[in-house]
Amino acid sequence: MPHSFRTTSAIDEANAEAPTTRGVHLGAAAAPTPDSRASLNELHAAARDCRGEVESILGLARELGGRLPLPQQGRTFELWESLATLGAADLTAARIIEPHLDAVAILNQAGQAGLQAADSTWGVFAAQGPGQQLLATQAGSGWRLDGDKPWCSLAGDLSNALVTARTDLGMRLFAVDLRSPGISISQRPWTALGLPSVPSQGLSLVNVPAVPVGGPDWYVQRPGFSWGGIGVAAIWHGAATAVARRLYDHCRLRKPDQIALWHLGCADQALWAGRCAFQAAAVVAERGRGTSDDDGPQPAIVAGRVRATVVAAAEKVLSVAAHGMGPEPLAFEPEHVQRVADLELYLRQDHGERSLSSHGAAILAAATGPGAGAAPW
């Protein structure tokens, strides 16, 4: 008889079988539901299965564009958790998928979802260069674009893009076919160590047909602009979470000294601040905003707060991870090396001190401008 059979290993087995959490949950107060855990873990696996290959990632982008929730329709928080999960899985995938999802959301907000063909992949090119701005002119019943557009990521691989261009009545958004003959891509080599497969290049447009999306100034004034900006922050938060998970393993698998514990405490505090920010912002996003001050803070102010909180958290996590673990993972672990390089570059989409000073200006404007209410705090 198996008299000597013991069940102690069954306990260890249960421990070893504990569900792996790869998805990134943004809830600050409650544990995720099993359904949410499973679907985010699945998304994490799907992004990793692309193995950084642009074609596979674009395929996943098209699929997610038809499946993930749009912002401000009751499931904004879920969308941000999906973006955070993509950020944790692979920043190359996240960097390619996010603009496509943003473009889908923008076209829906404009009531022009019909512009999006089933097999199309989209970028959103809204950077302003110091030189000549892209100009839109009306030609007969249509519009034409002429000039240069800097910072167009993956322009050579996408089918379409939403680009901002100057019109007589202000900045306006236009949909273009990136395969139009009037479009050429600058050949300045992309030498970044971060996001090496997502080159960002300049476009030159000559007499390129374009379809206006929304009216003049609609692109930046619509509330969706702010919620989209928070979506990018969700990706940064997810990647920072993945870096912090590596630090957590480091502290867990060896006896941490006092300094290592301090590093872990800092990382946890930073990520918690980020999660609280997303949770609060999701409440505002779902509530919508009328014209009264009682409706809560303006979306742009909320987005400024969330993005600055998340950037600070991500930089904190990068710093304590580097100080805590030393050069070893940065020298020997390809995934960690790449994630750190990707995140460092991706975070530069935020303008650091300049973003926060714009935020300060917005706070002051809200307190002193027309229809101004009480002090911000």
């Binding site: 290993s9 504990a18 393993d249 698998l253 060896r254």
Partner: protein, 246 residues
């Protein structure tokens, strides 16, 4: 001379074990975390030897970036274990006399007290530790499992040797010339060699490793082959019997 163990290196050979490797790694991470939390400030490391691997093992390893990976195309577990030990030893920060190597397999799950027991016995002067294993019960029928336990005297001072639960000091390993470069019984031969040279071999049942009870092994004469024969009611020739036990 008192023994001092200053570092523990875990070595796991893995040959296309993508299905079971995640469980093995999670159990090892749990044991390492337990040792870090409750044990002395002795650092531990994990080296996984991917031997002739053509499955998703590398992707699985990406989930455990803190583990060292050594790729070989040995095709024989003895050579794979040797490569793992030498890779682990080259990363160690202590001399071989203070380095304990703990071996397990990629189809096995160590208990959370695994490193704690290896460390305690090593500090107690053991040069080699031969630990016990038990098949995962659900992988075997009840009758086969009962016969398995009948064939194994699982107690302190037992006479079995399993690569899935085997420890030794790195200096002793070098002096014995490592594992024989063979596909089978490299573990038994190693312990026999150690005993023949008069090294202290501790045979313990205090940190039993759960090992795959699958009936389809890769090697004739291996553990899976033995389990398959149990289904037919056999017991003779248990691969765990040490030829020099006594």
């Amino acid at each position: 001379m008192t023994t001092h163990i200053g570092e523990i290196a875990v070595v796991v050979p893995s040959r296309n074990e993508a299905e079971l490797l995640p469980h093995a790694l999670r159990a090892l991470a749990a044991a390492m975390a337990h040792f870090a939390r409750t044990g002395p400030p002795v650092p531990t490391s994990l080296t996984v030897v991917l031997d002739c691997t053509s499955d998703d093992s590398a992707q699985i390893m990406a989930e455990h970036p803190w583990a060292n990976i050594k790729r070989v195309s040995a095709g024989r577990v003895g050579a794979a274990r040797n490569a793992g030990v030498s890779a682990a030893a080259s990363l160690a920060k202590v001399p071989p006399t203070q380095l304990w190597i703990a071996n397990t397999d990629a189809d096995s799950m160590v208990p959370s007290n695994w490193l704690e027991r290896h460390y305690a016995l090593a500090m107690n002067g053991a040069h080699v530790l031969a630990g016990t294993v038990e098949p995962v019960p659900t992988d075997l029928g009840a009758a086969a499992l009962a016969r398995w336990f009948d064939c194994h005297d699982l107690r302190e001072g037992h006479s079995h040797v399993h690569g899935a639960n085997l420890g030794f000091r790195a200096d002793v390993f070098s002096k014995l010339g490592g594992f024989s470069d063979q596909s089978l019984h490299e573990d038994r031969d190693f312990v026999a060699k150690a005993r023949a040279h008069g090294y202290a071999v501790a045979a313990t049942d205090s940190c039993r490793v759960s090992t795959s009870g699958r009936l389809h092994g890769r090697l004739a004469g291996g553990f899976a082959d033995f389990l398959a024969r149990l289904d037919g009611g056999e017991c003779a020739g248990a691969p765990a019997q040490s030829p020099t036990a006594g």
